[in-house]
Symmetry: D2
Subunit: 398 residues, 4 copies
């Protein structure tokens, strides 16, 4: 095994493609520019979990070998978006110039995105599938992972045709368009033999009909909603209170953020998806409902930098009332981008290893871990470690 | 197994004594009053780790059966001290009156403490040992745990006679007095066949000669320096940064506290012991030295309530600079007292089970875990859980 | 003139009555119990602006001479309410017992409150007026101040009959009930020749018809919405940014509180009144609209203790982005009660001195200063100081 | 009078020179680059008090007309220093290139600084004076202000020869070198007919002999120690507590900073000067000593960005214990630079108007206001406003 900083190359030297839905957004653009920068020796791997030996051991496809493409509904080109991220303080000065050719090459591979209501979804799905197949073939790729980093959608009402694969296919055959965009992308991905990562809280592959499709076609997927900030902290702090038999009385949270994600979440309909995924961890860890508001506020002035303030009121021996407050000042895209790259490589590896369905062991990365109800970060880390060790062994036994 | 809230009674119904060095201090008095209050149904078990099923399973001696005694150099009686803790907001109003008889009974068992320079330490040790034996015999106890909750001492220079048991005994025979008070208490305890808990950062049982004595006489001990506040947080937050491959650039800490402990630590000589134990965890967890000041300040106005502020500056992908700040407002004695009771019961159980030497699995409770270099709280929790499960099995196999 | 701690006695030794609308609420009960405690030598004057020489100089009626009564819709007796405030940590242990007789005596003077829809408001007003007259006569009082510390009402739509006194009287004559409760109380007060303090954000005396009535009957009043916490801080911090030519980019605020006030404000209809008064100061001081959310959340667990967190994002020279965060942990009733007593005495003094209408110089106490658009605390202090000095001179010239 | 953003030009179109002692430090370089940027239309006047109408009215020399020069002991050229400030995030990208010619021109005017022990101080003073005269003559300046922004010195023991001008001159004549460097610079400045601004806490013009010299030669000066961050906040928050009759029980402060200033203050000898000036305001405002630590810590990782955390514990009515915490994250040089430019212009104006000695009305800018014991910011603002208005009138009367 090579050293900490260099991930173990994929055993078979597989060529892996990463297809971002929302490739021109903050997270997508930071991930692409970041991967290119690391490859060019212009940036390090800080923030990439895959550089830790416990994870690298799994035998992941090399970062340097990843090929990028994507869908987006935005007309702002990738190079322009990266420039904007420089102004926002996310991407270092100088990078856009140094990576100009490469960024332009990726931008050329970005295809128009869909909202899902342009025409009957059967037709849209076919077009999306064709995009994915073309990407794989044109670039001689062995495998493609579709990673959703597009804007958060509102939650969806799970109507009967979203409950079973059969029902869904019949509806599509009938010219209906029952899927939210995120799930339409997931459908197309699975039909194009691509594995899926749902980094947003949108329904995506989590609808029962979609989950069934993944089983049917034998593909792995992971989700959902990347755990990068306040929720990350909650899932290390709440276990501390639990292990110390302290009683959490209330937990109040305020999240201030600007950027595109902030703008999207300023719409209460979209925010519901996020507050739902953010809220569930505490209760799961502490074993009881916890009082306290959870706000997400759009403060344009803050740009891509998020400030979260939490106040935990708790009780100790003899009724003593105590409190913990924290303020997290984080650059959301810089936190998300390396995890997105980690996930792409981990799910590609799972695909290679023949894993199918929601990868519970990747719950470490998510606010709402598909296939798992474990939220405590250290337990998730153990699960991830074990999973990576198993893949390492599997490799060796070959 | 009984329910969460009632610890499993000691299998043999053993009568266990808990002897506090520093019984009239904030922690000692809160632990005694708290145990009496729980026994009388006037308080719950919040903050007691032993109430968690994973720990209770070990088969601990019942809280209600513990007998208390101790040494202290203070003349302020235990009931008076508890009254003061009411004024300080640590102990609820009404408790001193409700527990008056019981508190007076315990107070009558508190014997004059020593500084270690009153007379040759051989003689002092004999007197302390006699106190402990009398406590055990007068109260028909099966086992006694000596728990040091006295004022923090300065670090000690480890001279040759503190390195081996032989060397120590020769020095004592020669009329010398080489031991700091905390180690003199530990010596007397071990010689009186008592197990030991070092809740303070003082040298106590950690000097090589003392550790050797524990092995020789076949007794278990645990230490040192209870992990109750800022350091507790550090040992859940630092692993989070490590697991996410984020680079901690600096970690600055400020602790404001009043009370007796604050007054003691206002003396820089004593504070050195504390800052040493507080500092080591971060480096152990992160694998590199971390910049940043660590202050402990005596602010009399705050009484037994401590406020700690920490600021962590860290770096993510593409060099993004981010920060986490937290403010912890805790009642130190209310946090420490239940752990002290837990430890007394756990070490008594270890004694009963024939365990010898530093109990690494109790590192969960300490800033400077004797016998272990694991600092991450979740790893410590796993070790504790395993240890308790083993004791449970051992019991069943009998 | 006597010393700082003893307010200058009213020049004529006037007997002043204070009538609380909401006498059994947290603020009302704390003010009454507090005044009785100070009088009995059981508490000091911390938090009372009237103890400062600059204010005391105005020649205020003595605190010890105030007589209390009030209206409330609650059946919980004043002594019971004060007991609850002891449990909440607002009122010191022992006080209810020490003041039992006096509290009972005040409680006996509390009359049933009204919501305003019991019967035609003409009749209700007559009953309230009778209550006030009886209070003045039964207790041989020279003057009565009616202080509204009842639950916050929703804002009211200002219909034509609320615009002029004539219009209002005609509506009342016609058997209509156009007034919100707070304004009905203010109407009755002014008709009973009582001055008025609006400590809540409810409409009270601020409706045009009511303000006209105060002019007509020649009575002073002050309001509205006591400035005790986060807004207080805003009105000293915002001027700092302005004086230093720093550009405030956004100001985000979160208020967590329990208690009765918290419960009332958990209803969005009521909260509108509060967020309106809280929001206006910043813009007035900075001269431009400021972005950022303002939340008030009901967190029952916090009881009468409020925690507010604010984050100010600002810009300096060469575009440098900086921030200020603060956390205020305050006991709302302990902050409000002494101001309520100050206001009662100041408005009684204004009444004695023949002042009429909104007392702009009392804007120092309020989030939404009636008769003034000055919000910066130091400017308000200067205005208050000048006003008090004038009253002192007026007295001397007599 | 022109608009807010354009300061009133000096009535006589005077050509004013600003001579920085420490011209290549963070503050010096930011001030120079900033002034050049504003002049070139590349930056705005945010953070400049002189842009406020109340100050601009005084008739200040135009920013665009200022000529810069200075002394420094550092060999790092001004353009290089400005580059470093870009990397530190203080100065915007692109500025060094845009201002390259101008920066080089100023750098050419920077003369080697002195420590004061190179040779007898009589000789050094003569050389420094010659430098200043040459600067004035070579550039055809009407007036020169010497602004000390060099590294903080340790406090000095005031020996007899520092007490009177006569004593000082005799000592210099005798070949002695009694002056700390900052005072030697001030001596030379005054002897060269330059006014002086002491932006550091170093002794500078504050030694009695120097203050006497200023009177003798009839020159104005201002100092000392710029009030830019935590202390600024203290001087708006402490008056709030005072005006509300709340009792401040303790005030604890922690300042974390990197940069050159941080490195200098990491030496406890130098830090004494700073903690002395930082400490005095609170007591002056509150009228009593206030408990609580005050730390300044060097955390290299933070660079030019300072984080200060303060916790104020205070008491209200009925003994309620409350607290206020704040965290200030500021860019020290961006805060200081515009004030330094303001001060240069204000003191030049005072010089022109014939003012002599310490300018108490400029206390607004300082932690340790020379000639004044007023610390409350709003009172200082009133004094500044009045002073500026007087100068405006003086002008008009001419
Ligand atoms: N940054 C984090 O820390 C983090 C953490 C968890 C989840 N997320 C999620 O990641 C997602 C992306 O965040 P962001 O900050 O990059 O947001 P963003 O607004 O900057 O980017 C979203 C991108 O999606 C594109 N898009 C919108 N609808 C689309 C569609 N139907 N098809 C294709 N593209 C579409 C937009 O044009 C935009 O380019 C969000 O859903 C966010 O909630 C981010
Ligand atoms: N409270 C916590 O959260 C916590 C956490 C870790 C460690 N500790 C440690 O626990 C210890 C006790 O803390 P506390 O707050 O109760 O302090 P305290 O000052 O209130 O009590 C200390 C007691 O020890 C007694 N004492 C001093 N010297 C003695 C001696 N030579 N022999 C016998 N008694 C002696 C004192 O008289 C006093 O009664 C301290 O060492 C502290 O550092 C406390
Ligand atoms: N505490 C502060 O710092 C502060 C600051 C500014 C304003 N205020 C305002 O003061 C008021 C009182 O606050 P509180 O904390 O005491 O609230 P509370 O809920 O404890 O008390 C309100 C009282 O008003 C009574 N009440 C309700 N409707 C009434 C009616 N129609 N007639 C007579 N009585 C009625 C209630 O029965 C209750 O006793 C609120 O409006 C609050 O917004 C408080
Ligand atoms: N930045 C602020 O907010 C602020 C506020 C108040 C006071 N100050 C004071 O301003 C001063 C400058 O701060 P900075 O951050 O620019 O520090 P810095 O270390 O970056 O700059 C100091 C400069 O002074 C030069 N210097 C040192 N000794 C000298 C000497 N004898 N003669 C001439 N030059 C000499 C150094 O070479 C350096 O270039 C410090 O004393 C600081 O305490 C700064
Ligand atoms: Na250890
Ligand atoms: Na107003």
């Amino acid at each position: 095994m090579t050293e900490t900083n260099t991930p173990v190359p994929g055993p078979e030297g597989a060529r892996v493609g990463v297809w971002f839905v929302g490739a021109r957004g903050s997270v997508g653009a930071t991930a692409i520019a970041g991967a290119l920068a690391v490859r060019a020796g212009l940036a390090g791997e800080t923030g990439m979990v895959s550089r830790l030996p416990e994870v690298a051991v799994a035998g992941l496809p090399e970062l340097a070998g990843l090929q990028f493409g994507g869908h987006d509904v935005s007309d702002v080109s990738l190079p322009k978006r990266v420039e904007a991220l420089v102004d926002a303080g996310v991407v270092p000065h100088g990078l856009p110039a140094a990576l100009a050719t490469e960024l332009a090459r990726v931008d050329a591979r970005i295809r128009p995105g869909v909202t899902g209501s342009e025409r009957p979804q059967r037709e849209i799905a076919a077009a999306l599938t064709a995009d994915l197949r073309a990407f794989r073939e044109d670039n001689g790729l062995d495998r493609v992972v579709v990673v959703d980093v597009s804007s958060t959608e509102p939650p969806v009402r799970v109507t009967p045709e979203l409950l079973t694969l059969d029902g869904l296919e019949q509806a599509l055959d009938a010219g209906e368009s029952p899927l939210p965009a995120s799930s339409l992308y997931a459908y197309a991905a699975l039909r194009a033999d691509c594995s899926v990562v749902a980094f947003t809280p949108s329904p995506g592959p989590r609808l029962p009909a979609l989950a069934e499709l993944a089983e049917t076609v034998g593909l792995p997927w992971a989700g959902s909603d990347g755990k990068t900030g306040e929720t990350l902290l909650k899932t290390v702090l709440a276990p501390m209170f639990a292990m110390r038999a302290l009683k959490v009385r209330s937990w109040s949270s305020m999240n201030l953020l600007g950027g595109g994600d902030g703008r999207t979440l300023a719409d209460p309909a979209n925010a519901v998806s996020k507050t739902a995924t953010k809220g569930q961890g505490l209760e799961a860890i502490l074993g009881h409902r916890v009082d306290g508001p959870l706000h997400i506020d759009y403060v344009p002035d803050l740009g891509d930098w998020k400030t979260a303030w939490d106040m935990v009121s708790f009780e100790g021996f003899l009724g003593a009332r105590m409190s913990l407050q924290f303020t997290w000042t984080g650059c959301d895209s810089a936190l998300a981008a390396p995890l997105v790259l980690d996930l792409a490589r981990l799910v590609a590896r799972a695909h290679q290893a023949g894993r199918v369905g929601p990868q519970a062991a990747l719950g470490f990365f998510f606010k709402d871990p598909a296939g798992s109800d474990v939220h405590a970060l250290s337990e998730q880390w153990e699960a991830l470690r074990t999973w990576c060790a198993e893949l390492a062994e599997a490799e060796e036994r070959r």
